[in-house]
């Protein structure tokens, strides 16, 4: 594995704080693409912007890059407001979703391009480009062209090209979505390692929750042009502040319940409700599959389907009370026959609630 040693200090840096303050972007379609988005990245932090297609996450990243003009708010890199600074002066590095290597240049020329734009001497360009290629594990492929590389290799080169100029911010716009599953996981881990070694402040846009939770220090969940919640992966998963976050991050069973202060009753069972700001009355309750268990006592249900996931098994049950489907996660040695009658119990962990 390649590591950033003291012999190669040029890519390591002290991170820069980055901030979006009440940023608005309106394409005039009736709904704002960014509706007052505020997001602060601490120096050296990797924040993932997570959300469904069309939620505005890429627009937010492009606003930070300067590739989209904003209609309101501020963009700060370091101490300076940069809304009126052109892209080429913002000192950022960016990796795009689609492969964006220059096809007529070799890998080494691609990586050295940003240094050339900064008038770095040819000899130093070669050394630094080679160093960046070594960092992404492609030091031997400097003489190849983009069409001679796999998708994963091309994105590694794009990453080296983005890093070689030692930018203050690294922006990754769904960099893994065009890759197959195995390469995606490998490169995801590689990005995290390199980001930690270089200490560069990074914004990572993705629609893949597993990717976001695995790679980020903090995750910002976006919906309809707004940030719903910012927090560590654990906070998002265990303490979602809205029904959208509870539903979007991880698997949840959506069950009808009745909220009464800090308690919610689901199928006659009282559970602690996470703060939601909702008034008392009928609500939807979001219960994780691992917060349910197959038990001796509990709600009567019939097994509909079961799937083996390696370390655990997930079984879908139809509740006898109302016919609703729920998914339960349990140990692999609890094998359940299709159609068998079982009981399912709540483990009593706090649950998120939202509009019915």
């Amino acid at each position: 594995m390649t590591t950033l040693s003291p012999a190669r200090p040029s890519l390591a840096q002290h991170g820069t704080p980055v901030e979006l303050v009440e940023v608005v972007k309106d394409y005039g379609t009736g709904q704002r693409a960014l509706d007052g988005v505020s997001l602060a990245l601490a120096p050296g932090e990797l924040v993932a912007l997570l959300g469904p297609s069309g939620c505005g996450k890429t627009t937010a990243l492009r606003a930070l890059a300067g590739l989209e003009r904003i209609d309101g708010g501020h963009v700060r890199i370091g101490d300076a407001d940069v809304e009126s600074t052109p892209v080429h002066r913002r000192d950022i590095g960016m990796v795009f979703q689609s492969y964006s290597l220059f096809p007529h240049m070799t890998v080494l020329q691609n990586v050295a391009f940003g240094l050339e734009m900064r008038h770095v001497a040819a000899a130093e360009r070669r050394i630094r480009a080679q160093e960046a290629l070594d960092l992404v594990g492609l030091g031997a492929l400097g003489g190849r062209f983009a069409h001679q590389l796999s998708g994963g290799q091309q994105q590694r080169v794009a990453l080296a090209r983005a890093l070689v100029t030692r930018p203050r911010v690294l922006l990754l716009d769904e960099p893994l979505s065009a890759l197959d599953a195995k390469v995606r996981v490998q490169l995801r881990d590689e990005i995290r390692r390199i980001q930690q070694e270089t200490g560069i402040t990074t914004l990572f846009v993705t629609h893949d929750q597993e990717e976001a939770l695995a790679v980020a220090d903090r995750v910002a969940v976006m919906n309809a042009g707004r940030i719903e919640q910012i927090g560590t992966p654990e906070q998002l998963y265990l303490r979602p502040v809205s029904a959208f976050v509870a539903d979007f991050v991880g698997l949840s069973n959506r069950l009808p319940g009745v909220l009464d202060g800090a308690r919610v009753t689901v199928h006659g069972v009282g559970l602690e409700a996470l703060p939601s700001g909702r008034p008392d009355g009928p609500v939807s309750v979001f219960v994780r599959p691992e917060d349910l268990a197959i038990a001796e006592d509990g709600l009567a249900a019939t097994v509909v389907a079961t799937s083996f996931l390696g370390a655990v098994r997930r079984t879908t049950l139809r509740l006898a009370a109302d016919g609703a489907l729920v998914t339960v996660q349990h140990a692999v040695d609890t094998a359940l026959e299709h159609g068998s009658e079982v009981h399912v119990a709540f483990l009593g962990r706090p649950v998120a609630v939202g509009a019915r």
């Binding site: 964006s100 096809p103 007529h104 734009m117 069409h147």
Partner: protein, 298 residues
């Protein structure tokens, strides 16, 4: 391997052969057409350059290439084709570039695409007449220029009936052909390349100089070659405007219909051989550039 799998394998191979056979059967009418009306006449035309009047094989006919009249015809063909291809390429590329600002599925693109497809095929007597009616000795524009600017554009004789006059009709069908061939290359420029240059610290000018132009260069040169070849082999429009020789296709016609020969047998065949040789070089270059364009814009 089991007997069943062997049977399945044989059946699979048989089906594949049948599919291939049906494919060839479908291709057959076109193949026969190409062989009858392009392949055989082409081979006869070129081969005739290597036979003497009595039918014996000879290389003596190649001496025709040292004849000043024939050399002049080739030179005229080359420069008229080159200049019209160059002018058409620049004008067509500018129009195509302007079109990239329009929506790919919009009405403007559809109209220009259709118009270019028609105009690129506009040639022969009709095109010649259109130009005669426009800038010929008694034509509309000629009269207008005379009246407004007091300049007779045909003062030294009707320029449209000269080799240089062919530049106008050749450019006329060259421009839309350039739009058709170059627009896909412009569409193939990824917006991310421009954005990547910007995030790496480059300006828009640097993007065009270091990425846009180099990436487009093979497609542009390929299109220029295509325009050159199109003009070089064009016959009908020139035949309608010019009576005698001047360019190679007209010289071939003249050699086929006239008894005045430059001293060697089968001069038309020799001229055809020269044209085929030039076209072969051009098409080889075009194919190489086309391969590079496809690879770069995948």
């Amino acid at each position: 391997m089991t007997a069943a799998s062997v049977r399945v394998g044989r059946r699979g191979a048989g089906a594949s052969l049948r599919r291939r056979g049906v494919g060839w059967l479908g291709f057959a009418p076109f193949g026969v057409y190409v062989v009858l009306f392009l392949g055989i006449p082409g081979v006869i035309a070129v081969a005739s350059g290597f036979f003497a009047a009595d039918g014996t094989p000879t290389l003596a006919n190649l001496a025709a290439f040292t004849d000043p009249v024939i050399l002049k015809d080739f030179w005229n063909s080359v420069w008229v084709s080159a200049v019209s291809a160059g002018v058409s390429a620049v004008l067509g590329a500018l129009i195509a570039w302007a079109l990239t600002a329009a929506r790919p599925d919009g009405a403007l693109r559809a109209v220009v695409d259709s118009a270019s497809s028609v105009l690129a095929q506009f040639g022969g007597v009709m095109l010649a007449f259109a130009w005669i009616a426009t800038v010929g000795p008694e034509a509309l524009v000629t009269r207008l220029i005379q009246a407004v600017l007091h300049v007779d554009i045909n003062g030294n004789g009707p320029f449209l009936y000269t080799v240089g006059g062919l530049l106008l009709p050749y450019t006329y069908f060259g421009v839309p052909l350039m739009v058709l061939t170059f627009l896909p290359a412009l569409d193939g420029l990824k917006p991310q390349w421009g954005e990547a240059v910007a995030t790496l610290g480059g300006t828009r000018l640097q993007y065009w100089l270091r990425v846009g132009v180099p990436v487009l260069a093979p497609a542009f040169l390929g299109s220029v070659i295509l325009l050159f070849a199109n003009a070089f082999s064009s016959y009908a429009t020139a035949a309608a405007l010019i009576d005698q020789g001047g360019i190679v296709p007209l010289a071939i016609k003249q050699q086929l219909t006239s008894e005045t020969i430059v001293g060697v047998a089968n001069t038309a065949g020799v001229l055809a051989l020269g044209m085929v040789a030039i076209m072969a070089v051009l098409m080889t270059g075009y194919a190489a550039l086309e391969r590079r364009t496809r690879r770069w814009q995948r």
